[in-house]
């Protein structure tokens, strides 16, 4: 009853415009940057937001690179089968597979795309990439391939559309830097509720 009432009141209040105006923005034309330029721009914009960027030649180099970047990390939460074969023990790190727990200090996800325009990562939830990995631990590591770094958000939306059509997974996250707040006294502090630190590994 309430639903019909609201809808009929809305219909009574509105009439169709002669030319409805869906809008497409034009910044994309300026922001379409191919290959290396997009990577460099992504890096610069992500670093300005406080992310740590590491570049690796291939996946097997990841454990060692992480051991250098976060030497205190003994365990890393992850759940993507592609990580199983990597040389973690050589780097002195124990991988933990499965759901996140409140005691996890570091977690590793893979991004679907990265947007150079603002240094933003695009993650989609799945069994391999639970969104709790991105919010529970102190340190969040995100792996992205060079070929998946695009210029503008519209390109990222294109990738999402290609993968999911309009049937999104439970969460699609745009992540730009670490958790922060200015709510106390106007000063910016990191690690409000989400991770204190964001590391992006470009492969």
């Amino acid at each position: 009853m309430t639903r019909d009432t609201i809808l009929s009141r809305i219909r009574a209040a509105t009439t169709l415009p002669a030319n409805p105006a869906p809008a497409h923005h034009r910044a994309r034309a300026r922001l379409v940057t191919p290959g290396d330029e997009a990577i460099a721009r992504f890096r610069a914009n992500a670093e300005v937001k406080g992310a740590t960027i590491i570049e690796i030649e291939n996946l097997t180099a990841l454990p060692a690179a992480l051991a250098r970047t976060i030497p205190d990390a003994r365990t890393i939460r992850m759940n993507d089968p592609v990580f199983r074969e990597m040389p973690w023990s050589d780097a002195g790190v124990t991988p933990l597979f499965g759901a996140a727990t409140p005691d996890d200090t570091v977690a590793l996800s893979r991004a679907l795309a990265a947007v150079a325009e603002t240094g933003t990562l695009v993650l989609a939830s799945s069994a391999e990439n639970p969104p709790s990995f991105a919010f529970l631990p102190e340190v969040h590591i995100v792996l992205i391939s060079r070929s998946e770094i695009v210029g503008a958000f519209e390109d990222a939306l294109g990738i999402l559309h290609h993968r999911f059509r309009t049937n999104f997974p439970r969460s699609v996250n745009f992540i730009s830097g670490a958790s922060r707040t200015g709510d106390i006294g106007g000063r910016i502090v990191h690690g409000a509720h989400g991770p204190r630190r964001l590391i992006v590994a470009i492969c």
Partner: protein, 475 residues
């Protein structure tokens, strides 16, 4: 939240003499205004996007029923439950019923103005639920029993010292002698305390910056990550959103998101922009078992049918109040309800009625800064003026004001009489004021004269002098 909008003059006076509030407000102009300017300057297409954002909002509002139905169908297809609430009471009942059915005891909340508007927290608490605000600013003021003073920065009126005192009082399970002087330590403590709540909560309630019809998703835009933890960890997720939050497509949402963060905090993107669609999937390791979306009217359909429709374009960025000289002088609480600043001056009368709220649209200089920074070009000055017209038609001003206004109006429409009275009045004023050139005291204009002098007239009117200088030859 019980409105005190009719007590605005007293609220404003109190705010002006509150030295702690004033020192917190002094931080605002340097911060958010300058940041917005820089962010806008860095995006050459900003003005064009602003026009597109405005067009998207208008087009959506013109066809709102269609877009809401599209949203509903898609949200249901993706596994969400969609509920419709005509007013605040119904919305609160729906949320309570969802919590009851889930056997909930603890509820965590992300920031949501509409839940303030419908009085959700007190309602849930009366029903025996424990409710915790998780946005840091909201958490702080919840502990203090206060209302948010700003849409984006609810605790901006407080200093670090205020928050330290609060945390020592409320987190009494922690060691008394722990160091808590810096904002770093305060944030770390809040993080730890609230982490426990996230993990124990049965229900997570968020607002929505937008509802996307194309995918049946809700979007939240945050920096802290609390909104995300609220909608990942508990087994039930409830989204509360007003009817005007819907946007047709992801592409439309992207245009709005680009202008939102820049206008609000000067960031090109906030740390987290999250699209939530339906409950967890069969293979997911986390996420809620149930996702509910409560669509709330509470006066919006009336606004849609009136000249106030443009106010429904609002995307809750807060730029209008950041740039408002009145808001910067008195802060958000003085407005007396949920929505402060220029948007509050337009929205509050629509939701509570002009009789109780007429001070809000009157307490403006009409400087137009708000309109000039609004990312969706809401004609805030014109809308405030419309409220003044309604107040005038209902005779809501004081008897004196109306009498003075009538006299002025009458004489202004009768030029010969006007010029005669004017000559007389300025002759007196001019001779009384000749020596000093100004008045410190007069039997009228008390408000003006309390704080500043009133310059004296020169003693003759221009019309009088022009006639005396032979048809157009200036002195």
């Amino acid at each position: 939240m019980t409105p005190t909008t009719s007590e605005f003059p007293a609220n404003a006076t109190r705010a002006l003499t509150d030295s702690r509030l004033q020192s917190a407000l002094a931080k605002l102009p340097g911060g958010l205004v300058a940041q917005r300017r820089a962010a806008v300057a860095s995006l050459p297409e900003f003005e064009a996007m602003r026009n597109e954002a405005t067009a998207i909002r208008d087009a959506t509002l013109s066809n709102l029923a269609f877009h809401l139905e599209t949203f509903e169908a898609k949200a249901i297809a993706m596994g969400s439950h969609v509920h419709w609430a005509a007013d605040a009471a119904v919305a609160c009942r729906i949320v309570t019923s969802i919590c009851r059915t889930a056997g909930a005891r603890l509820v965590v909340k992300g920031k949501s103005m509409v839940t303030e508007e419908i009085g959700l927290n007190p309602h849930l608490e009366r029903e025996g639920l424990n409710v915790v605000e998780t946005d840091l600013g909201e958490y702080i003021i919840q502990q203090r029993g206060e209302a948010p003073s700003h849409i984006i920065a609810p605790a901006i009126h407080l200093t670090e010292a205020d928050v330290e005192a609060d945390f020592r009082r409320y987190h009494d399970h922690l060691a008394n002698d722990r160091p808590l002087g810096s904002s770093d330590s305060l944030v770390a403590e809040a993080r730890a305390v609230l982490r426990e709540k996230f993990l124990a909560a049965d229900v997570g309630i968020t607002g929505a910056n937008f509802l996307v019809a194309e995918t049946g998703s809700s979007i939240i835009v945050t920096n802290e990550g609390n909104g995300d933890l609220t909608q990942i960890l508990p087994r039930v997720h409830i989204v509360v959103a007003t009817i005007d939050k819907v946007v047709p497509t992801l592409s439309d949402a992207m245009t709005l998101l680009r202008v939102l963060a820049r206008s609000a905090t000067g960031q090109d993107m906030t740390a987290y922009t999250t699209f939530a669609t339906g409950p967890r999937r069969a293979s997911d390791l986390d996420g809620p078992d149930e996702c509910h979306i409560v669509i709330v009217d509470n006066g919006r359909t009336e606004m849609l049918a009136s000249e106030m429709r443009a106010a429904l374009r609002c995307i809750r960025c807060g730029a209008c109040m950041n740039n408002c000289p009145v808001y910067n002088a008195i802060g958000g609480h003085a407005y007396g309800w949920v929505y402060p600043g220029p948007i509050g001056a337009v929205l509050t009368p629509a939701l509570l009625g002009i009789a109780e709220t007429h001070h809000l649209p009157h307490a403006s200089t009409f400087c137009g800064s708000c309109e000039s920074v609004c990312p969706v070009k809401i004609p805030l000055v014109s809308l405030m003026r419309s409220w003044r017209e309604r107040a005038h038609d209902r005779g809501l001003q004081s008897v004196t004001s109306r009498a003075v206004a009538s006299c002025w109006s009458y004489t202004a429409r009768h030029p010969a009489l006007y010029h005669l009275i004017a000559r007389f009045a300025v002759a007196i004023g001019g001779s009384l004021g000749r020596a000093k050139g100004r008045f410190r005291k007069l039997p009228f204009a008390r408000g003006w004269l309390k704080h500043r002098d009133l310059p004296a007239p020169q003693g003759r009117t221009f019309q009088q002098l022009w006639k005396e200088t032979e048809r157009g030859v200036p002195r």
